[in-house]
């Protein structure tokens, strides 16, 4: 990190390699769709130019994600592309490829996941964003706050509210049907 800050491109390359996967997931889930890779590349370029303002690697990750989130939102606003989340999840859900699937992973579970994706899509942007960051990307509350540019208290309250909304849309239980979609 220190070497990267001093302009060592080899050192920065290491940071890029390490954070690419999560950055791409973040971009895709926050609405960048097929342009996720471009968004992340752009974010890495921007991040490098501001690197000297940051002290440690622990700060780098949420800060990079914040740039990614911003870029993804701008793109979404410009092009009204909102299908990334649904499309990718659906594609994955419909093709259990046998690598990570447990025997218990039945058609019911697949259906449930589809319902979950549909319900997530139907949420307000902000509700969806906070759930994506906290749970699909598994970020902490503090990292979520930094990524989305919200206050910590907002992240907490919004998460709770968004969960209730999502639950209401889904209905109870594992084998429930989608109320509307």
């Amino acid at each position: 990190m220190a070497r990267a800050r001093d302009g060592d491109l080899d050192a920065y390359e290491l940071l890029v390699a390490r954070h690419t996967a999560l950055a791409c997931r973040t971009a895709a889930l926050l609405g960048a769709g097929d342009d996720a890779e471009d968004v992340v590349q752009e974010a890495f370029v921007k991040a490098y130019r501001k690197l000297r303002h940051f002290r440690g690697e622990s700060q780098f990750r949420p800060w990079l994600l914040a740039i990614v989130a911003n870029e993804a939102r701008n793109l979404q606003r410009a092009r009204r592309r909102r299908d990334a989340l649904a499309l990718r999840a659906a594609a994955r859900a419909e093709q259990p490829n046998g690598t990570g699937d447990l025997p218990a992973d039945t058609a019911v579970a697949t259906e449930r996941r589809m319902a979950l994706v549909t319900a997530l899509r139907a949420l307000d942007d902000r509700d969806r964003e906070v759930l994506v960051c906290r749970y699909l990307l598994d970020l902490s509350e503090a990292e979520t706050a930094q990524t989305l540019g919200w206050r910590l208290g907002t992240v907490k309250s919004r998460t709770a509210r968004a969960l209730v909304k999502l639950r209401t849309r889904l209905g109870p239980g594992l084998a429930s049907e989608v109320p509307h979609g």
Partner: protein
């Protein structure tokens, strides 16, 4: 209370959904580097590097990578800098520089095999060849207590099997002079025959230099989800035998 439980279930479902999402994450180190090498003013949104150039660069990298790694999507080689990523392990070429007195992994504690299996979000495999471990350790837990790394210890701790979900982030960084690709019952594995450096990289991507230590011979392989890291005074044949006995 019922609502609370329903929320917890829903959270677990969302996490599971997140784990199942497959987002392509191509190696973009070259593309980023190429753009950084240009003057800052040339940065026009997404247009600074012509796509054709990127495709050409990617083709070169792929060609080099194929020469070095087996044809596995799990293995991404960075042929130019000697940096290699394989199933959540980053390998750098060079002499290791271990810490003077290495620390254990963050928040390490002993747990029963049952507890580790219950808490971990991946399937904790046990090698039949070694049987029930002397000790099981869990480390670097998420806020909900799910450990990032589960270690099974055998033969008084001289043989250890680290397990983690290798699909998302890098968890270990290795600095080695020698390594070789081997076949572990049809899946590619990476074998480090001589002592080499191993450093833990936590869930935030932070390298814990204080954990840097000299590791004995090590075999790394993945079942597509879980990455296994088997370390100890073992020959390649012994290590492979243990690897294919994991259930």
């Amino acid at each position: 209370m019922a609502e609370r439980r329903a929320d917890l279930e829903l959270v677990e479902e969302l996490r599971e959904l997140g784990r199942r999402l497959e987002t392509p994450a191509p190696d973009m180190t070259h593309a980023v580097r190429a753009r950084l090498a240009q003057p800052p003013t040339a940065s026009t949104r997404f247009a600074a590097v012509p796509r054709r150039w990127l495709v050409a660069a990617a083709a070169v990298v792929v060609a080099l990578a194929i020469a070095l790694v087996p044809p596995s999507r799990a293995a991404v080689a960075h042929a130019v800098t000697g940096l290699l990523r394989f199933a959540g392990v980053e390998v750098r070429q060079g002499q290791p520089s271990p810490a003077v007195s290495p620390s254990p992994l963050p928040s390490l504690r002993s747990a029963g095999l049952d507890e580790a299996r219950r808490r971990a979000r991946f399937t904790v495999g046990v090698p039949a060849r070694l049987g029930i471990p002397d000790d099981v350790q869990i480390a670097d837990p998420a806020p909900d207590g799910a450990p990032r790394v589960v270690s099974l210890l055998y033969r008084g701790g001289t043989v250890r099997l680290d397990e983690f979900d290798g699909r998302l982030d890098v968890a270990f960084m290795k600095t080695a002079v020698t390594k070789q690709w081997v076949d572990v019952h049809g899946v590619p594995g990476l074998w480090f025959p001589t002592p080499h450096g191993v450093t833990y990289v936590d869930r935030r991507g932070v390298t814990h230099e204080e954990t840097s230590r000299l590791a004995g011979s090590t075999l790394i392989w993945s079942d597509g989800t879980v990455t296994y890291r088997l370390e100890g005074a073992l020959s390649l044949d012994e290590a492979t035998g243990i690897a294919i006995s994991v259930y």
